[in-house]
Amino acid sequence: MSSSLKIKELSKKEILLAQGHRMCQGCGASIVVKMVMLAIDKPIVACSPTGCLEVTTCISDYTSWKIPWIHSAFENAAATMAGVETMYRSLKKQGKISEDMSFVVFAGDGGTYDIGFQSLSGALERGHDMLYICYDNGAYMNTGIQRSGATPFGASTTTSPAGSAVPGKIHQRKDITRIMAAHNIPYVAQASPSHHLDLMRKIQKALSIEGPKYINILSPCHRGWRSKPDDAIALSRLAVNTSFWPLFEIENGKTRVTYIPKDKRPLREFLRPQGRFAHLFQPENEWIIEKSQAKIDADWSALLAEGACEAIEE
């Protein structure tokens, strides 16, 4: 039985990410990690590949983690955690350890969509009992906002700068949640910190299932998104309400949409507050918004068709 997710109850729990981390003011990743760890009851062993979260939580000789946490290289966080989990199973078999634990990877989109992809795919295929969390801020923010496989179509980054040559990123982002689901693992979900109850329920559900689990969580980055420092939650809410970031889960191949916006907003409302999309509002780039909107509408309809019978309205 999982513990209560009422905020009042949660506020009695210790937050396992310490103060003094060096994440930017208003960082979404910190909020995501905090919520994930608040939802977990068992002792946690975590691992992070290189990324914003890693560099800001382990500045030489200091750590913000109050749990055993390993920094692995950019490309192998999933392999590292797979090794830890295998060791744990062996120790348990030998009777040297008896406690139940949760094995969690916190990786950014660069370490998930691109560089860590092969190790993640392998770990899922081998069926390790672990939860892989991707906090998706849609670019390599830590090294200076370079485009990644997660960067949305049309977004301006330092390696896809909007100008006369290109109107921002000219490729569509990977649908990583679907790619993970195609590994036929028991649980895959997408969540957003603006819908915290939904997020934490998904964490608890994932950890109640044995085997590999993957959850993709939107993590606003105002430095990279060129927005305001206080809008991490507001923007993630807009991402959900415009269906840019639909909330759903796929459990044993069965899709369920976990939140249907009462009033689905046009994509422009999500794009407008972000400087990385400012150029899209020039007349010559209007087609990018229209193309993105058409894709989002098509994806949303397809998702609803797949999971509509199970959908609940909150």
Binding site: A18, H21, Q25, G28, D61, A232
Partner: protein
């Protein structure tokens, strides 16, 4: 701010002191500071949940104030505060520094 001097001799690949980053006080980054207006606070604790710097102090389910040693002044708490009857319980103001 005084922090420990780190050189090669005391820099190790394993940090055994969990959560020792509390020695790094990030409050100095702040230019705006949150102000709590208790009369408008319903203790929904959304500010506590959304604070990226664990700087909202909650005791017995009630918001007591902010930990200014670590608050970076992002303003998420003020923006997300639902308040009471449309009156927010947190507002941001420019911080006067000595």
């Amino acid at each position: 701010m005084k922090t420990k001097i780190i050189d090669r001799s005391n820099c190790r690949p394993v940090i055994t002191q969990a959560g020792n980053s509390v020695a790094l006080k990030t409050g100095s980054w702040r230019s705006l500071e949150p102000v709590l207006l208790k009369e408008n606070c319903t203790n929904c604790l959304l500010c506590w949940l959304y604070c990226p710097d664990m700087s909202v102090i909650v005791r017995d389910g009630k918001v007591e104030g902010f930990d200014m040693d670590y608050c970076k002044g992002c303003g998420i708490c003020a923006l997300e505060c639902p308040g009471k009857k449309g009156q927010k319980a947190i507002r941001m103001r420019k911080e006067e520094k000595e």
